[in-house]
């Protein structure tokens, strides 16, 4: 499968390549979200802020400071991670839905900053990268593959290790977990930083390929809340759930949304409500589906 992904660029049109690229980006984005949203159980509506931060940092470094690409991408991840660490302090004073709404504030904040600090960010109109898109797409593609694999690997190792166990414990019952020696804040903060790292990383790579950044491309509602929906559809807190959900939804999006420009949010909304009410575990956990496919849950 991985080998397949690697040789793909040689055969397909640039359009299909971009679609696959976007799928990879969203898979990484969703997997990173899952660490906090799924493993830890805190629905972080502001996850998109990390993605956007990575993207904007990358753009600012490349255009204003003329830094080369790879370190800029890394810096995008670093800035996002630092931001996550910083923001953990106030945010994790809240729980549950309060946390979710407050985390949405991050997006509001970044959106406002991106628009207001236009000397830095290009304001509403954004910034165009001085890299021709054709040149960027292949390296970005391979970058995306490697980052996605790395993210999945990290997600897997968290899942299996004590770290993941701590997160699950916090998710199920925070006080009990604390009684068992889990320092809640440490794990919450760390998990947020890890998830932010990958979000920022892939955000930078995404923009590297797209070539243009503006608040409406990286801070819009459908980008910011995409991982939440995708994880929900695929299976919250599982390993393969986010991958599945992201892959399915990105492809569905590509097909549906190019047909009509309306009702994007509506579709998300309906999916959210239906899945929330009837299938809160997601596709991966659905027993009927598993019986059909005879698939073991991971």
């Amino acid at each position: 499968m991985i080998v397949l992904l690697c040789i793909v660029p040689l055969f397909v049109t640039s359009y299909i390549l971009r679609v696959i690229f976007i799928t990879l980006v969203f898979i990484t984005f969703t997997v990173s979200y899952n660490i906090v949203g799924g493993y830890l159980g805190y629905v972080n509506l502001g996850h998109g802020a990390f993605f956007a931060l990575g993207a904007y940092t990358f753009v600012i470094l490349v255009t204003k400071l003329r830094m080369p690409i790879p370190p800029s991408i890394l810096m995008g991840a670093v800035v996002a991670t630092a931001f996550a660490g910083l923001v953990s302090y106030p945010l994790f004073r809240l729980r549950g839905a309060y946390f979710s709404i407050a985390s949405w504030g991050l997006i509001i904040l970044l959106n406002q900053l991106a628009v207001n600090l236009d000397w830095l960010t290009g304001g509403v109109w954004g910034v165009q990268l001085p890299i021709p898109s054709a040149e960027a797409s292949v390296p970005a593609y391979y970058g995306a593959i490697s980052i996605m694999l790395l993210a999945i690997a990290v997600s897997y190792s968290i899942y299996k290790a004590k770290f993941g166990l701590a997160l699950f414990g916090i998710r199920e019952d925070e006080r009990v977990a604390a009684n068992f020696g889990v320092n809640p804040f440490k794990y919450k903060c760390l998990s947020m930083m890890v998830s932010a790292f990958f979000a920022g990383l892939i955000g930078a790579v995404y923009i590297f390929n797209i070539g243009v950044i503006s608040p409406s491309t990286v801070l819009s509602i459908d980008v910011s809340l995409a991982p939440v929906v995708m994880v929900l559809v695929g299976g919250v807190g599982t390993l393969s759930g986010p991958v599945l959900g992201a892959a399915i939804l990105t492809i569905v999006q590509e097909i549906l949304w190019t047909k009509t420009e309306y009702f994007h949010m509506l579709t998300y909304g309906v999916i959210l409500v239906l899945v929330g009410l009837f299938m809160p575990g997601g596709l991966v956990r659905s027993r009927k589906l598993r019986r059909i496919l005879r698939w073991k849950e991971v």
Partner: protein, 294 residues
């Protein structure tokens, strides 16, 4: 700046603050009774504004008259939302349902916003405004906006009525009972799902009322819902979770802060000041000013 000019800013701030307080109180009510934070709350506000807009532009009704229609309408809508969408959630138990409620109410929010977006795109409008004018009052040397003063008075009246409702009527006491101690209230025979549905309607109606006033003051778009829900959250945290009085004070404070920010920094920074206030409160006094159940 002469103090006289400050009066205008202060009135604006207090008015916005009062509107915010309405939103916050509504959200707080719903949360207190059902432990669900309705992420679509702000969107209900937006809907209230839209209804007012339609009533004003197509039926020629003044916004304040529109209130008479809006209140029962949204009581109904809120109750329906509760019954159809929230109640099935409660089956999962209070823990699970809290997490899923975020998802479901978020979905609801999307649906509402997109429908309005679609509708407004079809009609060719992108923002709604109701320019309802009354002759200005003149006190000393300042011209005060009559509309704003009327709005302020109306909100004050509504708040007083609400307060009386919650403290004096039986239903109000049931609401408070559920908020303070769910098990005890249930043990005493309070019908949780009924009160929950009614409270949802009440909270939604409050949000819609706020929407009526907001649309008179500024132009609104379909997307302001989430931002306003967020501001309601800021107020609830600032004032203290579960405190009616705290929500009111918090709302006024936020409104004033925004008004002064507009004066000194410019309107674009208004959302930022809200976020900053939120983070400061969370870091310094997460309990809020008057935290604890009311």
């Amino acid at each position: 700046m002469l103090p006289i000019y400050h009066i205008d800013i202060m009135i604006n701030g207090i008015l916005m603050g009062a509107i915010y307080a309405l939103i916050a109180v509504g959200l707080n009510l719903i949360y207190g009774v059902s432990r669900i934070l309705n992420l679509a709350h702000g969107d209900l506000l937006m809907l209230g504004g839209v209804v007012t807009y339609l009533a004003y532009n197509f039926l020629g009704q003044t916004p304040l008259i529109a209130l008479i229609v809006i209140i029962p309408l949204f009581l109904l809508i809120g109750g329906l939302i509760n019954i159809s969408v929230i109640k099935p959630l409660m089956k999962f138990g209070p823990e699970r349902s809290a997490a899923t409620s975020v998802i479901v109410t978020l979905g609801l929010s999307f649906i509402i916003v997109d429908l309005v977006l679609f509708g407004s795109a079809q009609a060719g409008i992108s923002t709604f405004g109701v320019s309802y004018m009354l002759p200005s009052l003149r006190i000393l040397d300042i011209y005060l906006s009559t509309v704003r003063l009327l709005s302020l008075l109306s909100i004050l009246l509504i708040t007083i009525i609400l307060r009386l409702f919650i403290t004096r009527t039986f239903l109000g006491k049931k609401i408070r009972a559920l908020s303070q101690n769910r098990e005890a209230a249930l043990a005493l025979g309070v019908d949780e799902s009924r009160v929950s549905a009614i409270t949802f309607g009440l909270g939604s109606a409050l949000a819609a009322i706020a929407g009526v006033f907001i649309i008179m003051i500024t132009a609104t778009q379909a997307t302001i819902g989430m931002t306003l829900t967020f501001k309601a959250l800021i107020i609830i945290i600032l004032g203290g979770m579960g405190s009616f009085f705290g929500a009111v004070i918090g709302g006024l404070l936020l409104g004033l802060a925004e008004s002064y920010t507009m004066l000194y920094l410019g309107g674009e920074w208004i959302p930022v000041i809200g976020v900053i206030i939120l983070f400061i409160v969370l870091m310094i006094r997460p309990r809020g000013l008057f935290g604890r159940e009311s």
